[in-house]
Amino acid sequence: MSGAPNQWVRKFTVEFPCELTGVREACRQSRAELAAAGLGEEELGHWELILAEAGNNAVNYALGWQKHRPVRFEFFVDDQGVEARVQDHGPGFELPDQVELPPPDSEDGRGLFLIKTLSDEAVYYRGKGENWLVLKKKRQATGTPPVAVTTPPPPDDAGTQKLANSEATLDLMTEELASAYESLSTIFRFSAELADQPKPEEFARKWLGEVSKIVAADWFILRLLDEGEGLKLVASSEDLSVREVLSLDNAGEADVSLEMRAASFRMDVWFDALHPVAAVDPLAKLAAQGTGFSHPIVINDRLVGVLSVGRYLSDSVFQAGQVSLIQTFADFLGIQIRNAQFQQQQLQTKLTARELQIAADIQRSLLPKQLPHVPGFQLVGHYQSARQVGGDFYDVVETAEGGLLLAIADVMGKGVPAAMFAAIFRSQLRAAAERATSPATMLTWLNRSLFADLDQVEMFITAQLVYFSPRDRTIQLSAAGHPPLILAGNDGRLQAVENSGMPLGVLADTEYSERAVSLPPGANLLMFTDGLTEARDPEGKLLWLGPLEKCLAQAAKTGQRAEQTKEALIALVEAHQQGIPPGDDQTFLLLAEYRGDSRGKPPQL
């Protein structure tokens, strides 16, 4: 208050339970005290109305446990005016500078207008655990001095009361700032750590533990929504034994479970001595004697999870600032966890892409850089990886006898594991080629060598080995579950040369057989994987063998260069696919007799 030194100062407090009937009685008492302080009838009427509206707001805005805390009016009266402070423990509200009148037929919305209009100054401070509405109004000159002085001011100190008032106001503001600071600093520390914490669940557990200490909670339970399952337990304080999953489909559960109600109604659900949890509530053991609440975590209108926090004793309620910190933290945590999950997905996508890249690199490294030159023959290979890299590869090994070992294989599976097995197969094949020239012996040995590893991961390999003797113009063929090779002569006749056996990795003691075939004049020999014959057009129709055989027969008849035949085969497959990417690796190895240019350079890959 400003002005002349105080002559009559009266300080008094009126406290009342947080209910509307309490407001009425408190207004009566306040009016009587203010009358004793010498206020006139009109002033008393105004103050009674201001206090009634302020008290109504304090009661109406309180939620849950906040209704158990009393509302308090504090008065400071001097000869210049009256300052009233209304303390509430609710979540608080915004008091705008200008309050507009509602439409005439509106049944509410006039309380703040009356407070603002009838007082000279009205300021609302939202603090930690409590809020204060500070109201000031000058006294009218007609008021009479009070007879009794209950609290005399310190003598000859006009500024003391003013100082005390300012101090109290500053205290309120400091409280509010401290509360905000505590929340903010916790969140900042929490954000800083999030960057180093790869697992959101561990992070949530640790920080909910920290927040529990700050707000003096005895326990917490965080559940996050798992679309397939329901509300899944993610983190809880130590030694809690609670159900892992609350199903959202269980309508009965929503009736009894605090957490499910919070999730369903998207609002905080409180429990305390007056509002106990149901005996069948999954939280019953924790919350039976205590107090606390379940808070739904909602981000962009989507339920993310539910955080429940509690104390074991019901007489120890959370203060508004503590509740605010828990709510703020929970919402922030929800955003962070969602972001972390999103990043995890992104990372997974990147990892998958990287894995595919690695697999493709392995595949490429397996292919021979250059194929051996055989006089009178041309040898070309082709490998086209699918989007999901498989385990196709081919190889050609020169043997000590002057022959060639032609190999083509398809490891069943995708990605790095398939590529790894292709790499193992290749090194084992080269080792086998040094020991034997019989393809059947090699396959038998390769199967024994690879069986244990393939069997363990439930993978298998189809392979075809051909020993080609240029001197004898013969081939010896052995195959392990692989498609037959196609052989065409310059008369256009075709034969599918087959020698079936179990794929490698299926039976440990498989003995493979082989067959020998003489090459016809102008021979064109095509070894391939099923990715070639099973190339699909946009409607899903397979290419099959026919067009490939026709192409090969034509090549043999015309005696075209192997490189041209390779381009023709690739063009054939691409024309069939009509631009859609291959679903499987496409690999082939082509041996073509070429008499047109016996000086021909060895074809390059």
């Binding site: 407001v23 009425r24 009634a52 005439p104 037929d105 009356l114």
Partner: protein, 102 residues
């Protein structure tokens, strides 16, 4: 709180206050006493020491009920302070206010 039925008028008397603690009871009491023939509700505020925004809300609610049947609410003899509040809130435009006899 008492009501008296005078032809098309329902008169409500003995209201010491019309505030948050009794506004809901007041509204229900009046609605309960209203008969189809009533087109005017007279609320005697002569004895009312205080009326707050909740009490006003109750009066406006009854006013709307009566508007629906072409009727109105008439407020009798409010104290100068209560009258001042009606004017401040511009409710004198929707209620017919009969001042206290001087």
């Amino acid at each position: 709180m008492r009501t008296e039925k005078i032809g098309p008028t329902l008169l409500v008397t003995d209201l010491p206050t019309l505030t948050s603690d009794n506004s809901r009871a007041f509204k229900e009491f009046v609605r309960g006493a209203l008969e189809p023939a009533h087109t005017v509700v007279e609320v005697d505020l002569g004895a009312a020491r205080s009326v707050d925004s909740n009490g006003l809300g109750a009066l406006i609610s009854i006013h709307k009920t009566l508007c629906g049947r072409g009727g109105r609410v008439r407020l009798l003899h409010p104290s100068p302070l209560i009258n001042e509040m009606f004017q401040l809130l511009q409710l004198d435009k929707i209620f017919e206010i009969v001042p206290r006899p001087t």
